[in-house]
């Protein structure tokens, strides 16, 4: 499922009558099967963009095409959009409501056409994919789980419907490192199986290690877009340092101040380790 965004703008109306421009003239394309990261400070318009992609808001101007179809055109089948695009918003743990974990995850499957055993099998798959022991957790109250566990139950509820485009708004905030890695590896597997992934995150390492392309928003404008590594290299060159660098890039900067210059393409942990090995075991000298 490809996505085409053309001259997209969105203004929020304020009580006083004035308008706040949350998104300004954004154009970009996301290819089917891509894994795209969205980076930007709080309030830059990331969440508004996601809401527009999911059809939860209509743009003030501009168009969004999913597989060539304008999702805001008259007569466009909204139901199809809901089945195509799965969205997990921030703090999904607050959205849990059913009396058991199993019922909560199964809720989204109500209108999927699946019945009985098929629903159970799908719920089992979703919960096991998120690292749960299905039999142990199925009858527990979702409210009795820890914060991170609730998050994983909520994700299970989104993936249970197997949408072709999956959008995650800050999915790993508050997860511990192992859960973070498990989640990102799981998303990568979904991606490799053909699902288009869009992930908003403040975690620079996650964006650098896992996404293929990056969109950078600043005050409602798309200020950079491209292959992830190239975008990180460009952001590092910005003088104001307004955007996050990866931990590896920060170490490269500190080393450069001490006269050890590593290649500018060092972005991830693996890059840094390889460059240091090369430099310190003789490869980089002479």
């Amino acid at each position: 499922m490809s996505i085409q965004i053309e001259n997209l703008s969105y203004k929020y109306g304020q009580p006083a009558g004035e308008k706040v421009e949350a998104l300004q003239d954004i154009s970009c394309a996301i290819a089917a099967g891509d894994f795209v990261g969205i980076m930007g400070h709080t309030g830059c318009g990331k969440t508004t963009l996601i809401q527009l992609l999911a059809g939860l808001r209509a743009p003030t101007s501009g168009r969004i095409y999913i597989n060539g179809e304008d999702i805001n055109a008259k007569g466009y089948d909204r139901n199809r959009l809901r089945q195509t695009v799965g969205v997990m918003f921030q703090n999904p743990e607050y959205q849990l409501f059913a009396t058991t974990v199993e019922k909560d995850v199964a809720f989204g499957l109500k209108y999927s056409g699946l019945r009985g055993q098929e629903v159970t099998a799908r719920v089992r798959w979703a919960l096991e994919t998120m690292g749960f022991d299905f039999e142990k957790v199925r009858n527990q109250s979702p409210l009795a789980l820890s914060g991170g566990e609730k998050r994983r139950v909520a994700i299970a509820g989104v993936i249970a419907t197997r949408p072709q485009i999956l959008i995650f708004d800050e999915p790993i905030a508050g997860l511990d490192p192992y859960s973070r890695e498990n989640f990102l590896q799981f998303v990568t597997q979904m991606n490799q199986a053909g699902t288009t992934i869009i992930m908003v995150s403040h975690n620079m390492e996650a964006l650098a290690e896992y996404t293929q392309h990056l969109l950078v928003l600043e005050k409602g404008r798309l200020i950079d877009a491209g292959p992830t590594r190239e975008v990180f290299i460009r952001l590092k060159q910005r003088k104001d340092g307004a955007f996050g660098q990866t931990a590896a890039q920060k170490i490269v900067t500190l080393l450069a101040e001490r006269e050890l210059k590593l290649p500018p393409a060092v972005v991830t942990y693996g890059d840094l380790l390889a460059a240091l090995k090369h430099e310190l075991t003789g490869g980089g000298r002479g």
């Binding site: 709080t42 607050y94 914060g147 508050g174 511990d176 403040h202 996050g244 310190l280």
Partner: protein
């Protein structure tokens, strides 16, 4: 000791045998900066929610600032002395104006109204947000929102401030703002208890309490805890980047003189290594 806990056990699951905390002993000294580390479900939040009696003690004994947490008559005093900032900046606000939000706690504690403006002003000054009194919380950045939430706590003049993953939802600059304020408050003598999943935020703590499956797995100086690969693995955590680099480089035959904890220490160790070879 400001916090002394013995054999604390807790379950959310009455009927069942699943313990969220099991036989936890804990001591925290006045003025200490304590980081609590552990994977999701390890019992971190459950433990700290005992400190101000958000959760009732089921088993064991716990004293915080000389108050027995089971003593319901002193619960208000306990909650004033032991303030808490939570994870999500957006659902800690009760008012649409910053100063009213900060004053909410003061109203509850029946602080004389005449004292409000001065208390609000000095709380905002502590979190470096002077002049934001009339702003709407929803017009602030994530880091600013957390600092307003913290100002609401500080207005009550607490002894202990607990940050329960208060940086988890923030962008890198917002995180930096909050961490900076934590250390500033620590310097003024406040006792800081910080729960976080960002290991790099714990390296400057006086002490780390490492939790796993409801138990205290280890307690000690960040250097001792964070550089112990086996221990970190047992706790299902990943050590800070400089520590990982140190061990991965060692495997490649690059032996740095000692295991660095911060980026600065790592760079120093690399420079030393280069000057020797």
């Amino acid at each position: 000791m400001l916090v002394t806990g013995k054999n604390i056990s807790f379950t959310y699951d009455f009927g069942g045998a699943a313990f969220a905390l099991q036989d936890v002993d804990i001591t925290i000294a006045q003025g200490e900066f304590v980081a609590i580390l552990g994977c999701n479900g390890s019992g971190k939040s459950t433990l700290v929610k005992h400190f101000n009696a958000l959760l009732q003690l089921q088993q064991g004994a716990l004293k915080v600032a000389q108050i027995d947490v089971g003593n319901t008559e002193e619960i208000w005093l306990l909650r004033r002395l032991c303030g808490m900032v939570f994870q999500n900046p957006d659902n800690q606000f009760v008012s649409s104006v910053v100063e009213e939000d900060i004053a909410f706690g003061l109203e509850n504690y029946e602080v004389p109204r005449g004292e409000f403006p001065a208390r609000v002003r000095s709380a905002l000054a502590l979190v470096e947000m002077d002049g934001y009194e009339k702003r709407a919380p929803n017009s602030l950045s994530g880091g600013q929102k957390q600092r307003v939430a913290l100002a609401g706590v500080l207005a009550l003049e607490p002894e202990i401030i607990i940050f329960d993953e208060a940086t988890a939802m923030l962008d890198p600059s917002g995180r930096q703002e909050v961490v900076k304020i934590m250390h500033k408050l620590h310097k003024t003598g406040k006792t800081i208890i910080a729960i976080t999943h960002y290991v790099e935020e714990t390296v400057a703590a006086d002490k780390i309490i490492l939790m796993h499956q409801g138990r205290v797995l280890a307690c000690g100086h960040p250097r001792a805890i964070l550089t112990d690969l086996d221990l970190m693995k047992k706790a299902e955590l990943i050590p800070p980047l400089p520590v990982r680099l140190y061990y991965d480089l060692q495997q490649a035959g690059v032996n740095l003189s000692n295991c660095p904890l911060t980026n600065e220490e790592f760079v120093e160790a690399i420079c030393q290594f280069r000057s020797k070879t």
